[in-house]
């Protein structure tokens, strides 16, 4: 099928205003938040219902045209970048809150629903949606599902996978299935567990059921500034081993502080401190007061320069914006940046940071550090200038070296941003061929023709003959695949009605 024909068919399904196909309309969809690799999609379509997504996917599947889902395109690993000339299925217009069930503490949203908007809409009832990636004011819950997004408060409350209980999925052949369970555990294989974090390679989520939580009665936020990263790291370890589980524990280094302090989110960090810690505790009012005091005490034990409890909501909000805007503020100090997302055992923090500093010196590229210290989730921000020939590549190599250090100390190459196209090669730091093959085999069950977001998440193992065989088998048989026919409902009965 040639492009024109495809456009005609897509227009038949969606109408003329919801299909972009002219070369110049596609430029804005070249990449997501990861700008080091770019490619042009074939078209961009804007469905508004599950049915429409299904019809679009059926058409593309039938004609063997690759496609991929896209939320807000804030992904930092290139998950939504159309490297194979895909048709981008934008879910930006599928942004409705379909149903809220305060009795059972569930909400059902369309995939394009913005994360923070959900919290805003249910705040009146004293509720919120816990996973809070720094990009929460812009990213979608569909994108969060695909990336298994984390966030500052995931230390205590868990990441996205702990909050999504079910989803309606359009499979790569266009069939609609429901996975997960509204209440309790789902039976059989944990398919919702599999879908969360699958980076859009197993299908497209078109309705998502999430847990909502009651807002904690009280919150206290502590800011502590240190002359040495070591002291800050030791405070983190101390707090955790004391048995307190803070709601969040975040760290930024001097370079990161400089960047945000140049932005609208100015806090006024001293220019001669090495690290700032943001520690938040929440829970019942009485206990929170006491925990905050204990934390202040622990900071003092580790030679804190200055420690302070937020005096007002406004102050607390400012501290948090400063932390959350840190990546975006990199534009203040560098034309481009590449953020890494390594995980390490908390106890190795000081050592790993020293190694990162070495890597920075060797490469000649500055590296700022922002991290979810409580989780041992680092975000080294590698600053570069893509206009200088060779620097993009150098930045990518530097990132890879950083991830190698993380893997070597027993950590991981991604805590929350996903593998995308960015960290494909680095998957080999953690997995052997057999393990990668097992992952690809799973993909071929759902996505046998590899039309849906191909080439993301799992690198092809060097010995991939068996996998190819497995894929061919699945393609030939289709039997396993057909098991996912449109079938019994396990989602909310109320949501069904609402639909």
């Amino acid at each position: 099928m040639d492009k024109l024909e495809m456009v005609r068919e897509l227009t038949n399904i969606l109408g003329p205003n919801r299909v972009l196909y002219k070369e110049h309309q596609l430029l804005a969809y070249d990449c997501d938040g990861y700008v080091a690799q770019k490619a042009r999609p074939k078209a961009v379509v804007f469905p508004v219902t599950t049915e429409e997504v299904s019809r679009v996917v059926k058409l593309l599947h039938e004609h063997q045209i690759p496609f991929l889902p896209r939320g807000a395109g804030t992904g930092l690993s290139g998950g939504a970048t159309p490297l194979n000339g895909e048709v981008i299925i934008s879910l930006a217009k599928m942004d409705r809150l379909l149903h809220v069930d305060f009795d059972n503490m569930r909400a059902v949203v369309q995939p394009g629903h913005i994360n923070l908007q959900l919290t805003k809409k249910i705040a009146g009832n004293g509720c919120y949606y816990a996973p809070d990636p720094s990009s929460q004011s812009a990213c979608t819950i569909g994108g969060n599902l695909a990336e298994n997004a984390g966030g500052s408060h995931c230390l205590k409350y868990g990441v996205t996978t702990n909050h999504i209980v079910g989803a309606e999925i359009v499979l790569p052949n266009g069939n609609i299935v429901e996975v997960g369970s509204y209440m309790g555990d789902s039976l059989g294989y944990d398919l919702i567990g599999l879908i969360v974090g699958s980076e859009g390679t197993l299908g497209i989520a078109t309705a998502i059921t999430v847990k909502i939580l009651k807002k904690p009665e009280a919150v206290k936020t502590v800011m502590a500034m240190y002359d040495s990263v070591e002291d800050a790291s030791n405070t983190v370890s101390d707090v955790i081993s004391s048995g307190i589980i803070p709601a969040a524990m975040e760290m930024m280094d001097q370079l990161a502080m400089q960047a945000v302090d140049k932005s609208n989110y100015y806090v006024g960090y001293p220019t001669d401190i090495a690290a700032v810690l943001l520690i938040e505790v929440d829970g019942l009012a009485a206990g929170v007061e006491e925990m905050a005091e204990k934390i202040v005490h622990m900071c003092q034990k580790h030679h804190v320069r200055m420690v302070k409890v937020a005096e007002s909501d406004a102050e607390r909000a400012l501290w948090w914006s400063s932390r959350k805007m840190a990546f975006g503020a990199m534009g203040r100090i560098s034309p481009d940046y590449l953020v890494q997302d390594g995980v390490i055992p908390r106890t190795r923090l000081a050592e790993v940071l020293a190694k990162i500093a070495d890597i920075s010196r060797e490469s000649g590229l500055r590296i700022a550090n922002v991290f979810h210290a409580g989780d041992g989730n680092l975000h080294p921000l590698i600053l570069y200038d893509g206009r200088i020939p060779g620097q993009t590549k150098l930045a990518q190599e530097t990132g890879s070296a950083v991830l190698k250090v993380c893997a070597d100390v027993g950590g991981s190459i991604t805590g929350e941003h996903g593998v995308g196209v960015e960290k494909l090669e680095e998957m080999r730091f953690l997995f052997n061929d057999a393990e990668l093959q097992a992952q690809l085999a799973i993909r071929s069950v759902f996505n046998p023709q590899d039309l849906c977001n191909a080439g993301k998440l799992v690198p092809k193992p060097s010995r991939c003959v068996e996998v190819k065989r497995a894929q061919q088998l699945f393609q030939a048989e289709q039997a396993v695949y057909d098991g996912f026919q449109e079938h019994t409902s396990i989602l909310s009965p109320a949501y069904k009605e609402a639909k």
Binding site: C31, V35, Q37, S137, V260, F327, R387, Q396, G455, P459
Partner: protein, 444 residues
């Protein structure tokens, strides 16, 4: 897979922006493509299309600069669909000056193909033909007043003659407040003494549309300022600020007007230049941007801009007297984009309203989302402007009697909204309410 490198610098393509004063690399290269700006952009909220988002627009402008895109519809449409509301600048952690980039890109389009059709006719007539010329502007005011007073308005409304106008102009005609007999620029004395001790001298910028349709607000501004110890002067040679020209891309015309104003105001002895129209205020504060490439006027523009204050900003800065008399009203406040996003003036108007005994201020959700007025956007892009107006009217809280704001463009737009909804909400300038309180004080 080998990692590809996006190295456009090697391609050495020619920029699509061939004229002077083009969007510069320093401005677009700070965008790190994070996407924080998407969700605050009114056009992206309505359309979900990244071409019509701040990130997309900056990317298109960058691509055109780098010669990857020609200056055709693909750039022109997004650049002109932008409301220039600057909501994106408020959130952008990187400090991308989206507004300036858009305005400069429009300048390139203006050079390339001065606007055609209906839009072009409107632009030519108003932007070059009327606004820059105070006397012609006054004529329009007089004609409008004649139209309203002579019974012609009643006749034409009855006769159905107005049907030939596009809907949005028809609605404008319907809501247009009665045009005062004289403009403030004409009727106010050149120097108005303050009450009590002199705190400073403020030169009143009377504006163009403001002074035809809303000249009473200018008079209220002068009264409120003098009431608070400010000597007010009214430089008679001043002309329109040029904001609408900048928005339309007619930067050369805007520069000529700016030069004139800079010279007139710098020649006065005023400590401040005070303005009550958000769009004009932002333009005045941004005169230096217009003269990036003119060292002489750049420096003068900086001296000029350093003195410009919105009236609410100035009152808070010099200290204003809370009124004694009551104004019993339940009010909600709409943040004009060019006041909150461009000038960062948010708390001062609220502080003023709260200081008035009897006023209950009810916050409007998303009070800083654009109402769709945006200069002449509601005439050039009636469809999008209409959608945004609907959203704005939906946001007005239950039970309020009045919507206050600090920009004449928004006032007219929201009056259309009130007209459409057939409610009896008052649409007032913040300063009018303060002025009413002071005047009651005098009468007590």
């Amino acid at each position: 897979m080998a990692k590809a490198e996006a190295d456009v610098s090697l391609l050495q393509l020619e920029s699509a922006f061939k004229w002077p004063d083009a969007p510069d690399e320093d401005k677009y290269s700070v965008c790190v493509h994070c996407g924080f700006c998407l969700e605050v952009c009114p056009t992206y909220q309505q359309l979900g299309d990244e071409n019509q988002s701040p990130r997309g627009r900056v990317y298109l402008i960058k691509s055109a600069s780098e010669g990857l895109l020609p200056l055709d519809e693909s750039v022109i449409d997004p650049v002109f669909q932008c409301l220039d509301c600057r909501a994106c600048e408020t959130v952008c952690p990187s400090g991308v000056q989206v507004g300036a980039l858009i305005e400069e890109a429009r300048g390139q389009v203006f050079y390339a193909e001065p606007a055609k059709g209906m839009k072009g006719a409107v632009q030519k007539l108003f932007l070059r033909g009327i606004f820059p010329h105070p006397n012609r502007l006054k004529m329009v005011g007089k004609l409008t007043r004649f139209y309203q007073k002579s019974g012609l308005q009643a006749v034409s409304r009855k006769s159905g003659l107005l049907k030939i106008l596009p809907k949005q102009l028809r609605e404008m005609e319907a809501i247009l407040p009665e045009v005062p007999a004289t403009s403030a620029l004409d009727s106010l004395p050149e120097r108005i003494p303050q009450r009590g001790d002199k705190k400073a001298t403020a030169a009143l910028f009377t504006g163009c549309v403001m002074d035809v349709v809303f000249s009473d607000i200018n008079r209220a501004t002068a009264r409120v300022a003098t009431h608070n110890g400010l000597e007010v002067i009214v430089p008679k040679q001043q002309i329109c600020c040029g904001a609408l020209q900048v928005h339309a891309g007619d930067r050369e015309q805007a520069r000529q007007m700016a030069k004139h104003n800079i010279d007139v105001f710098l020649a006065s002895d005023a400590d401040y230049i005070v303005i009550n129209a958000a769009g004009c205020g932002a333009a005045l504060k941004e005169y230096p941007e217009l003269f990036r490439d003119d060292p002489f006027y750049h420096e003068k523009a900086e001296q000029f801009s350093a003195r410009v204050r919105d009236i609410s900003e100035l009152l808070v800065e010099v200290g204003f007297e809370p009124p004694q008399a009551e104004v019993k009203r339940t009010i909600t406040y709409h943040d004009a984009c060019h006041l909150c996003h461009a000038q960062k003036v948010r708390s001062q108007p609220r502080q003023i309203l709260r200081s008035i005994p009897g006023v209950t201020l009810v916050e409007m959700p998303n009070s800083d989302r654009c109402c769709g007025s945006a200069g002449i956007y509601n005439i050039t892009h009636p469809d999008m402007a209409g959608q945004l107006l609907e959203r704005k009217m939906d946001d007005v809280p239950e039970g309020v009697e009045c919507i206050a704001m600090g920009n004449p463009g928004c006032m007219m737009q929201i009056m259309v909204g009130v007209h459409r909804r057939e409610t009896d909400l008052d649409v007032l300038h913040t300063i009018e309410i303060l002025d009413e309180a002071y005047r009651r004080e005098g009468n007590e």
